[in-house]
Each structure stands twice: as C-alpha cells, then as structure tokens.
Symmetry: D2
Amino acid sequence: MKEIKEYCGVFGIYNSEHAAYYTYLGLYALQHRGQESAGIAVFNGKNIDYHKGFGLVSGVFSTEALDSLQGNIAIGHNRYSTSGASDSIDNVQPIVVSSKIGNIAISHNGNIVNALKFRKKLEDEGSIFRGTSDSEVIVHLIVKSKKGTVEEKIIDAVTKLEGAFSLLILNNNKLIALRDPWGFRPLVMGELEDSIIFASETCALDLLGAKYVRDVEPGEMVIVDETGIKSLYPFKNRNCRKSQCIFEFVYFSRPDSHIFGKSVYSIRKEFGKTLARENPVEADVVIAVPDSGLVPAIGYSEESGIPFQLGFIRNHYVGRTFIKPTQKTRDISVKVKLNPVPDVLKGKRVIVIDDSIVRGTTSRKIVRMLKEAGATEVHMRISSPPTKWPCYFGIDTPTKDQLIASNHSIEEIAEYIEADSLAYLSLEGMLKAAGGKECGYCTACFDGDYPISIPKEIIEQAKKE
Amino acid sequence: MKEIKEYCGVFGIYNSEHAAYYTYLGLYALQHRGQESAGIAVFNGKNIDYHKGFGLVSGVFSTEALDSLQGNIAIGHNRYSTSGASDSIDNVQPIVVSSKIGNIAISHNGNIVNALKFRKKLEDEGSIFRGTSDSEVIVHLIVKSKKGTVEEKIIDAVTKLEGAFSLLILNNNKLIALRDPWGFRPLVMGELEDSIIFASETCALDLLGAKYVRDVEPGEMVIVDETGIKSLYPFKNRNCRKSQCIFEFVYFSRPDSHIFGKSVYSIRKEFGKTLARENPVEADVVIAVPDSGLVPAIGYSEESGIPFQLGFIRNHYVGRTFIKPTQKTRDISVKVKLNPVPDVLKGKRVIVIDDSIVRGTTSRKIVRMLKEAGATEVHMRISSPPTKWPCYFGIDTPTKDQLIASNHSIEEIAEYIEADSLAYLSLEGMLKAAGGKECGYCTACFDGDYPISIPKEIIEQAKKE
Amino acid sequence: MKEIKEYCGVFGIYNSEHAAYYTYLGLYALQHRGQESAGIAVFNGKNIDYHKGFGLVSGVFSTEALDSLQGNIAIGHNRYSTSGASDSIDNVQPIVVSSKIGNIAISHNGNIVNALKFRKKLEDEGSIFRGTSDSEVIVHLIVKSKKGTVEEKIIDAVTKLEGAFSLLILNNNKLIALRDPWGFRPLVMGELEDSIIFASETCALDLLGAKYVRDVEPGEMVIVDETGIKSLYPFKNRNCRKSQCIFEFVYFSRPDSHIFGKSVYSIRKEFGKTLARENPVEADVVIAVPDSGLVPAIGYSEESGIPFQLGFIRNHYVGRTFIKPTQKTRDISVKVKLNPVPDVLKGKRVIVIDDSIVRGTTSRKIVRMLKEAGATEVHMRISSPPTKWPCYFGIDTPTKDQLIASNHSIEEIAEYIEADSLAYLSLEGMLKAAGGKECGYCTACFDGDYPISIPKEIIEQAKKE
Amino acid sequence: MKEIKEYCGVFGIYNSEHAAYYTYLGLYALQHRGQESAGIAVFNGKNIDYHKGFGLVSGVFSTEALDSLQGNIAIGHNRYSTSGASDSIDNVQPIVVSSKIGNIAISHNGNIVNALKFRKKLEDEGSIFRGTSDSEVIVHLIVKSKKGTVEEKIIDAVTKLEGAFSLLILNNNKLIALRDPWGFRPLVMGELEDSIIFASETCALDLLGAKYVRDVEPGEMVIVDETGIKSLYPFKNRNCRKSQCIFEFVYFSRPDSHIFGKSVYSIRKEFGKTLARENPVEADVVIAVPDSGLVPAIGYSEESGIPFQLGFIRNHYVGRTFIKPTQKTRDISVKVKLNPVPDVLKGKRVIVIDDSIVRGTTSRKIVRMLKEAGATEVHMRISSPPTKWPCYFGIDTPTKDQLIASNHSIEEIAEYIEADSLAYLSLEGMLKAAGGKECGYCTACFDGDYPISIPKEIIEQAKKE
C-alpha cells in the first residue's frame, strides 16, 4: 500500500436547508481539481450521513442519493489520484468515522510530509487504518488527542503536522475550516444569505451566487457553530515561512477564481506578458495549448503585439475513446483531444504557449502536429520556470530523473521536442508577476527550496511509485 | 448509526493459484445467504488486495476485477442487510485494515451481543470506527491486544466476545477459521487438491468439487499456514452451552448442504414428516410455498400419503419489476413471484406447507390466492414451531410486538390468515427430527431460552429499528 | 442474413386505461417464452407509439418508458432468438410501420414456412425489408393487398401463408387476433372488466386477475373494435389438418397455464404417469431435472409408488456468471445452475425425469453428476418420445444430424449418456395422455409427419445455420 | 409521427482493412454535428452488418461492437434530432435494408423538402415505412426505380428530390457519394494510402492523417468500386442555383475544417472583422460566448484594436447535471456551463460576440451575468445577420413567430436582452467575407430567399412541431 499524492477540491457549507445540494454544485464547480472520486457528508442533526463513489460528481450523485442526504451542514470532496482503478474505496473522501466524540467527517486537500511517522506510531499503539491516505492519519490524531474539546483536539493534532492541509472538518453542529501555517493550498470563505461557505476556489462561490468574504489565512482555524464564527491561530508560535503554491496560478486553479487573494486570470495573463518581455521572438502568430495556455498566450500576444489565434481546437467529446493499438493510429491519442487549425498555422512562424514541460514527450507531439499542419517555425514558450524538483505538497509530479528540465539544458530540451526555440518564464519574472516574493510563495518545484525539510522516507517512497 | 443484523455467507481458501476465482464461485454457491453486497480479499504475498461492492456476486465482480486479485490465499463474504440502500460501503465485508501486524482481512457471519460495550470502550480509548457493524469491533480487539503473536491476539480478542461468530481471518500467510463456543452459525472445512477451504455450507465445496473434511467445531480455531493445519480450543475453560441455530435447517441453509454434520435435506424432510404425524388433516393434496416449503411438503406427503403437487409456480425472472401503485394491482406484488396452479387446486382440500409465519400478512395473501384458484379448504402447516422471540444471533427477525405468534393464539392466527386450519411443528418434534436435544441447538426464537443473556441495550436498540 | 427461428410470447389488450402497463405484466408472465428482447406498441388515439429493446421485460422497460406509452389498446411481444448478440434491433417485435392504412403494429409467434417465396417476390416488386424475420413479410403482404378494408387485406395476406402464426395486429382502433388454420401455437382470449385480452397462455390472464373466455380457434380471426367483437374463419375453405404443437405440453408452456383448452399441469403429469406404466424400473427414488421435469416426475412417482424427491437444487441467482476457461472448471457450467442433493442420491437407485434429449451432452453431464453424488444406478426417463425431426413451426431444434435420437438407437443413447437405463414415453402414450389423437396435434418432431410440406429451401437454410 | 429536422455528420471509407474503426474515428471528429445517435454499416463481402444506438459515438460503440464489424467498406452517421427521448430507433442511421438489389445502407445529411409527396405516393403504392425520416424515402425511391444498374436507380431516385442531401450509399462493392445540385450541405473527399474517404468536414480527414483531395461538387455523384473512381453529374440539365449553407461558417462546422473549399476559421474570423468595421463601439474589452463566438471575437479584436479576453470559462464536465427546480437555483442552468471571469469584466465596457440570437432568452441571461460580474456596459455583437426565417434544409430553427428578429426591431431586441447596444453583421458584409455572392450561398434564414420553393405542407408541419 502506497501513499497517494493528490490534487483535490474541498467544499463545505454551514446552515443551509440545501446543504448537500449546494455542496454538489460546489464540487461540480471544483471538478477540475479532481475527477476520480467524489463524496458528500452531511450532519443530519444527530449523525453524519454520507455518499461517495468513483467518477465525476455528476456520475456519483443521482437525484436519489442527493435527496437522501438531509441536514444543514455538509462537506464535500473531489479527488484526483494517481493510482487509478486499483485504488480503494476506503480512500475516497470525505472520510467519515465514528468515535468517542461522535461522528467526524473530514475533507483534506494537500499532502502531509510527516504522516508516515505518525501512522507508524499510531499503528504501534494499536490503531487501525482502512485506507492508505495521509488524511486518515489526521482523523486518528484528532480522536486520540487527550485534550478536552473537539477544537482543542484538532489543534493538538494539526500542530503536529508538517505539510499541506486545507481541511474541512464536520463534527456535531460544528464546521471547522483549517489551513496549514505555510498556506500551501488555497481555501476561501464566502456567505450566501445566512450560510457560511468554505471552498478551495472562489469559482465555487460564484456558481452559487455566494459572496466572497475572505481567504482562510495560512495557519488560521475558523470554527462555525450556533454561537457564530470564531477565528484561531494555533500555529502562531511556530515560525513557518508562508509558502503558497505558485503552481496554482500556473495550471491548477480555474482562471475565473480568486485564490491567495488574487485573480488567477490576471496573474496568469501577467505571466504571459512577462514571458513575452523576457523571451521575445519574431513570429506571425501566438497560439496556446488549451486550456491552461490560453490566458498566458493572450498576455503574450498583448505584450508582443503578435496576434493571438486559436491554433488548436479541443474536442469536447473526449471520453473513453477506444484507440486501436496499431502502428497507424499511434499519434491519434493526442489528436483525438487536440486538433490543429491549418489556416492559422500554414506558412506561419508560430509561438505556442504551454504552462509547463514535464517529460517532454507531449511537447514533442505538439511541435510535430504544428509542423505537419504547416508551421514554418515553432517557438515554444512556457509560462513558468523549468520544473526541476518534485512537489511533496499535493501536486503530482514525477521524480527528478523523469523531469526533463532536471537533467537537461534548455537547448537540449528544445532539441528533444524539436522546437525552433524554447524559453521559460524566469523565476524572478514569475514572482514579480504574482505580486512579489513578499506575498510568500512556494517555488520548490522550480528551485528546490522546500519550505519544510522532506523526510528521506518520503523521497524514497516517491521514487518507488 | 444503528447496528446491523445480518445474514451472511463466508468462504476462504488457502494455497490455490485460483484463490480469488474459487472464492468467487464459493460465494456464488452461498448467494442465498446474502444478496446485498459481496467482497473478496486476497493476500498477494505482501499486502491484501480487495474488491467489494453492493449487489449480487455476479454483478460486483467483473472479469477484470477478479483478474486483478492475485494471490494464493483469499477470503470472501456475502451479506444480507436489513437497512438497504442507505447502507454504507464501509460496512461491506471483508473488512480490510492496515495495522502494526500488517494487513488484516476479516469475514464474519453472526452477531456479537456484547459488541456495543467494547465499541464504547474502544472509542473511549481513542479508537475510530468506519462502519457500524459489530464485525469491525473484532478487528479492533485483535489489533489492540497486548499479546504477542497474531494467534494469541485473536484468542485474546474473541474470548471476550459473546454471541455468534463464524469468522475467517486473513493475515500475512495465515488463514484462520474460528467458530464461537456456542456454535450458532455453521462453518465447514474442505480440501481440494492441495488447498484448504472453509465455507458456511458444504454446497460451496460441492460446486468446486472439493471434499468435505469436517465441521469447524464450536469453540474451535483452525490456523492454516505454511507449517500446516493447527487446531486450538481457546474457549475450553468457558462453559458455553452448545447452541447451533436450528433455524438454519428450517429456512436458511440450502437443502443440498450439510451443516452441523447433518443433511439439511434429510432434516427438513423429517420436519415435514413429523408435522404430518403431529398435525394430520384430511385433504386431497399437499403443496408447498416455494422454495423452503418444498422439502417439508415432500416429507408431509410421504408420511400422510396425501399426494404432493406443485401448487405454486415460481417466476424465475422476478427482478426489479415495476408495480404500479393502484387499487387494481394491489395483490400483484405477490402474484408476480408466485403463481397458483388452478388444476392442482380447483375443488381440492389443500394442505399448504410453509417454513414459518412472521407477521402473517404474506400467509394471508397465500391463503387467499389458493382459495381464488379454487381450493375448497386451505390447511396451513408450518414446518417449525411458532416464532415468538427475536433472534439476536444473526437472523433478522422483527421485535416481539410484530411477531404475530408472540401475541396471538394459533386459533387467532388461523383466523387472521383466513385458513381453515393452522398447525405448527412442535418444539419437541423439531428437536427430535434434528437428531435430538443433545445435539445442542439454539431454539430461542421459539421458546425464548437464549443461551446468552441479551444486554438490555441490544433489546432496546432492536425495538427502535 | 438468415431467417430466425423463434420462440415467442404475445399479449394484447383492448380498451384499458392501463393498456401498456397490463401488457408489461402480461409479457412478464410470458417471460419464459422468450428472454432476448421485448417490446410494447400502443395506439395513442392517432398513431402507434412503441418502445422495444434487448433483454428481459424488466430491463427493457423503465418506469419512464412505460409511462410514455399512453393509449387504450396495446400489443406486446417477448422473443427468444437463436442468433444472440449479433441480432439486429430491426427484428425486435412488435414491428411497427407506417403505411397507407396508417400505423400498423404486429406481434407474431410462430414460423412461416413459405415466407421466403413471398419475400423474394416482394423484393422483386421493389419492397424493402429492414430485418430478416418472416414476420416482416406478413406486414408487407397486408399493406400490399389490393383489398378494401384492413380486415380484408389481412385475410388476403394470411390466407397465402403456410406455417405457424399466432398473430396480434394493431391498426387504428382495431385489435385483431389471428391463429393459423393448423393451430400450431396457442392463443387464448380473456376479459378483465371492460377490456378484451389476448395472450399466448392463460398464465398472463391469471397474473392480471382476468377471466379466461376461450381459445382463439385454429383458423379463427377475432376483430375487436368499438362495434364489439367479431369472429371470422378466413381459412374455412381450406382443408388444413389441425396440428397443435404437442411440445408445448412437454416443455414450452408454463404448468399453471391452460392452452389448447387443456391444463398443461394435468397433461404433463399424465405424461409422467404413462411413462411410469410404459417403462417401469425398480428404483429407490424419482427425481427431476428442474423445472420442466418436475411435474412428470411427480406423475411418475404417483404411478410407480416410488417416492419423489428433490434431487437437484436450482441456483436462482444464475446470471452472467463468469466461468474461467480452464481444465479444472470444465464441468462448472452445469453445476452453477444445478446442484445435486447428495442425501437424496447416495447409495440410491435413481430414476431421473427429463423432458427431452437433444444432443445428449447435457444428459451425460447430469448422469455423471448423479453418480458422483452417490447414485448407484441412474435410470433416465424422458417425458416425450425421441426427438428425431427438426421443427419448422417455431421451436428451435437443431437439424437431423445433430439430433442424437435421429441417428442412434435408444441403447446407443443410453450408453452415450452413461445411464444404466433409458426409456422414452411412447408416441401413442403421449397422444392418449394429451386427450387423444383426435384433438389434433402436430407430432412432427417425433414422427416426421409434417402437416405442411416443407419447402426445400427452408430445409437447406436450416442446415446452414 | 412527425418528420424530423436534423443536423448530421456523415463519413464513408472504401478499401481499408480498418474500415469500421476509421469510420468510428471519423464520426468521433464529426461528433459536433450530432450527439443523439450514431451508427456504422460495413460491407462484409456478402452482406451489410451494422451497429447503431442512441448517444455519443464513444458510448454507442464498445470495442466488441466495433470488432464485430468486419469488412473493407463502411459508412457511418451521427445525428442530432430535435425530438429527443421519444425518438425511435428506426430513425437512427445508417438505414440498412434488404432488397432485390441486395443490402443497401444509406447515410444522409440534409432535409428533403418534397419527401412527403413521395412518401405519400409510395405508401399509396403499398410501401411500408419503419421510421419517420425523409432519408427512408430515398431508399424506397432507389429500390423502386425501374432502371437497370444501381447507379441508374440512384440517379433516377435522387433527380426527383428537392432539398438538401449529402448522401453516402453502400451497396455490394460500391461506395457512392452524392451531393444535391444546390450543394446545401458540405461533403469532402480524401485519401489515406489506398483508401478513399468521404466526410462532412475535413476535420475527419485530419484526425486520420488523410489527405484532402477535393469537395464532392454540388450535383456530383462519385462512385467508387473495384474499377476505380467515377464522377457523374446527374443534375446537369437541371438549372439549380448553387446554395451552400452560409450558416455552416457561422456556427455549425468546426473551425479547423475546410468546407465549400474554404477555411471555416478564416471566414469566421473575417465575419468578426467585418462586424467590427460595420458596428464599432467604444469599449475596453472584447469577449466571446464560447465556443462559436471565439473566432469572430478574435477577428473583432484584431480589427478594432480592443483587446480580446476570455470573459467566460466553459465547464468541460457538464453532463447530466441535476438542477434543483427551486427559485434560488433558477439561473444555475446557464451558470453550470458558462462562468464569467470577474477580473476581465469588472468596471469594463464589454463587447460580447455571439454567433446568432434565436429567441433572445439566452442572450438576456448572458448580458445579466456579465453585468452581475461587474461590466459597466455590455455591447452585444452578432457574427451573422438577424435570423428571421426558418431553415428547411437541415438546420433546426424554430418557426418565424419564435424567431425574435422576425418580429422585432434590433432596438427592441436590444432592450429585451438588456444590452447597452446590439448590432448584427450585415448580409452584404457576411457574403463578402465568405468570398462573395458569386460563391453561391443559401442565405434564406436571413433574407427569406429560399432557393427552392417550400411546399405548403412542410411549412404547416414545421408550425405544428
């Protein structure tokens, strides 16, 4: 059993007669953060009922399933896991347990780097784990805490943790939102009439017509119950470097969202503009690899004055398309998703914007498709710095030896992907575009400067996967 | 969250390259013991992989799911639960956990009457429960035990338990079978070439062509590993009255099975014969309510000399038939399953054999159908004594106030179900037919003589359901 | 494209506000006559709406599908086809077409032996066929007729046909039932309040609580419309030998049904009694191959005085059970459906009753299973004469060379199936049990005496299949 | 039964061992032309096998279904129908029939305006129709033709037709492509190694890596068989005005396709540029209603110099999202698909480009969403002229009384949709952008100038729908 790295989306709502339904819609808006499983837990006034399963939100929840979840407080979770079909239903969140403090449900976005240590310790003390996720460790630490109230227990538990955790916890009449002191993953707070909402991104608030109130701050714990909203800072004595994941702006969050108090769209466009200033090239057209390349490409176009065009059309009907494993259909796996527009490309010098290069194989296919469609030159521009280091805080990246930028110069990469030129956004340019270093970003995947020292066992484990 | 009463089937196999597949077939043969969920766990040489879900065995396991379960030791479980669609996936067995002694999987048939006490204690000590079944308590007790080896831990745990438990436990290279000292539920042992098999009933052995070796005895623990087969009697110092569920003969087990060392078919037929001797009536034909009434009806016919006929034809295609909730189709819910044969019934005095009467409503429908089909007299004969007391050891029966025999005389019941006469098998007759009282049977549902005193909270809980 | 031989069930109802729903229930009761596809067509006052699909009635019709079929006249159809998954949706009945006389829907049970001739002729004249069934030919002949009214057109069409056709036709406000002049397939008429019902067997009437009125007679055409019920005999000038399929009593119809004015149960039991008189053998027990062997086994037991027992338990949960194609699981394909009861068989001389032997392979498996379960002698008794000739009138049988009785003596068959003895019901005995030759039965599959001469092309075609 | 107006995509391939698989991929690329049903027919050397069903290509075809379609010539069809769930499987194309000239399969894109007349005539002559589509009429006319060869029969049939028909016909070893003499719908020809391909749009060729050869010309019939490729012009004596559907450029075709010998992307962008020249307005940002508004918005931006931004983010996971029918969630039906980006819109004067306005209700929702997201002014610009007349040639538009532009001035529409200004592309501007009037376009939906006079009964029928 291996620990799972996850992207995730979380959503919670307090005091709504439509708690489960609004959570369903919130998860639907956050579907881009995880498509492999979904779940909703609701406090029915006495216990916590829940429903969860593998697949998209719209597939997991039938009208009947949704109607069966009655109550005014709910939390939900979307998950993307790397282990696919072999994954266990026991890892699907929210995790709901029964304990001496009653039913507890938990939705977790992020990755705990010292979870293994506690898991081992808990197992030695006789604890039992159903799944393999580090999220389950959090629940155990809370319940095992010797402190008095549930809030004190949670504080006791989470202050032991190192890593990324944007958490929503449901217990009895309380909905608790918590963000790790580094602030790796986003978590926002909103309101809709008399309801309080927490969500990974503001796009979930927008869909409901809810008002954005503010971010849950790094290290903050917000407790909502019948006495009102209370804010605590359990990590204040701890000296944690604010380390908000800058990759959320590059790729992960939806462009219509605000996270870390900033507009994803604006920053993503600024990445494109900066990229244009730093890495100009004479060309006829700027195009994007959809969807994450679209906004920086618009920025690049604006700054460079080179016109932006739709160079690729994305097929919206991609599903479980059956690809025959024969020589002749070899390249179709990319083509079924992305179709080049010959009239935009033929005889043109093309700048193509992508968000990042991981292994380089997809980039090479893209360059080839563009050339086959008639591009005379292909200049690839990446709206982030070279990805050289694995992420241990909740974004799935391969190990160093598989990251092409970790072992190759930019020239070598350009040659491998068969581009006429290749350039990346600089780290400085990226930070400036995101509001400056002083905003507190984690840039470890680009510079290896991990805000928390990563235990050897975690590094080893990642290698084995 | 309420505790679930369950019927169940368990199956386990040691040392077979087709472990998961044979378990699949075994569960298929035991499908009559539970149709609501199924699961298989297999030890892959290092960890335990598993697959489980709601529905019939044939629906839960695709070829792919089965093929993904690689390993030589497997256990499986079929479950019937009373709580239906609202039930949680966390209750589906085998329960598989990770702990300091590695992965453990457990399949449990039966009901632990003092589980609540331990659950409360474990929760007080910080344990966490995922589901609501008492089976999960067993896992916790095992892992929490301070004893050294896994066998010792299991012994430490199970000797604390009161109630019914036919258990299969998979841990590392060991397959352990265990039956409570009262011996409530059946558990047999077989062999197929070099493999050792455990199953609820022998019909699972028969399907595989495996040889029946013997029953796991009440209070016996059989450990199978690379050193061979070891038998222990952990409860030997405890003075438990042997209490094998006589209702398994009446209704639950398949007639082609042997349980408790006896042929279900033979005993069930003897019930019919005794019933005929005890409660003769002049009539033209003996018929059965299929399927559990068939064998006693044949016995009744043999003994009485009154010819046996198929008075009802069962529709094999009953599935999720849509019944329109209108006046005119009111009675169709029974008719779609069971169709009277007019030519057997018209102008006849009919003896109809059923296994038991619970609330009396179905019996009334049956009597009416027979009369509408032309029967001039309907004499109902029940192949067990009046069911007056709820079962707390793994068979789902309603509370006393809903058991018609608990509050009404046989005459009153006869009148309610509109039968011309009604008679039950006597308790003495039943025991004698089953080999005599000395075989050690639980007859609590008929006489209230519970072999274990039932905690008040269990009785209260049952009432609330 | 090959012509398809079919078993089928038909149902129709006139003047009911629940027309589609009652047809659904009727088809459900007739499910044993065909499990591969189902359909219902309903006249909505103007046009005919329909819904059809592959699978069981309960699978084809969702509540929504059923609710969408509004109208007071409906016909339905169940089909069993031999061509399986490769079959086309265009063959699923009722066939519904649009034509100059409006929408017409047709449900057909039987097989037209001169259909190919008309199909060829119609194609030569420019007609187009969607599917491959001979039923489609009937529709074309009706529409192409130059006669005036729809009744006249139908008469013009069907009087050209040779073969088996129990037909229900829906056109505008008329429901027409028609049975070929030989009367091969059954067709009964019933009433429920103000509604008139037609069905293949009375069990469909019984489920609805409808009253059996009478059979539609061989060669009769019953027209139901707002003017009442009219009966015509369009074939009266034609000299057709009454030839009701006696195999319906042996195997095909449900024992609780009446067909051809007789009780299936009574006749099937009489088959068993006659069989006992004709072929006595000393033995300890009479058992049946379920389900069609059950009633004759009871008859055999009654007549012989040898006790009847349940020698096989049928697994009700057989579905799409996955059978691993390995040496060791070779015999499991039969065992998953049928499980011998050792206690009935061990050390016993067993008489086993089956309805017929086709190729002999299944019979051999059954004998082997009985012997493995401990039977000392196995005497097979067949409740019909040896099946030596293929049926061309709607029952799927293989060609002569595949019918074991066609090329082997009874002794050779006994040896092949490894039975200690084998005997069949005599043709005379069968006819007598069914009321006598004068009732008018087709016994062609036993004696080759086809009531209609079979065109060469049909015989050739059957061979190729 | 009503006639169905359809959008459709057609694909055919001659001489490929992967005929069915390539057709599958081709249909996948053409999925935007129809999502309600899909089918493939393949000539197996003797007969035509086929598989079809409701839903997306990826859902209709399992690997097994695809593998069962063996042969070297195939045609396929995607369909969008307006009648939804109540539609009949008999209308799903390709239509495959058996006739005197063997099996024929037909895939049809377009709408025949004089089909009803022939249908009536054919019915009067005794023909039978299974479905309601005008495509079925074509098959009947071909088969009924008295001409000698199949080519002559097809010519005889299609020269009778008025309306839109891009047809693919499969018969024995021949694949025949045919386009009506007006040339309403596109049809292109390509080659891949030794195979000849026909498809509605070039994007299907591109996915396969096939080479575009040329368009099938209006009025051309291309016959491909073992003797090679033959081109005929059966309509040459008929004086038909070339009338290629200009709306294909506006909305229907994929931007990466070439149709009518022209790039959809280029023309669609030119629409945007012309729109900007004709209807300038002072504003801060140009955005699009995705997806069909994107390319003209880029054109508008280029021409006007006002920056293009992504004002809406489209949710890719839209499926069967459950919308609760309550007051509060009223607007969510649009929001779940389209999410405004506040940072692009806040405080901005916004130009929003859409392809057309039908009823005006969606446009109003869009304007409201933009204003709620902070736009100070919303100027809607439509990349086509006002849609005032229904289409009878294969694009589904409502009747005149439901087309807002048919009964309201542009000012009234602007007021209704709550836009600060509204302007449409002029007809002249559109024609010029599409290469000039001399290219031969149908603009009937904008100016009512139908190239064929529409029979009264068709107009009446459309009104009733």
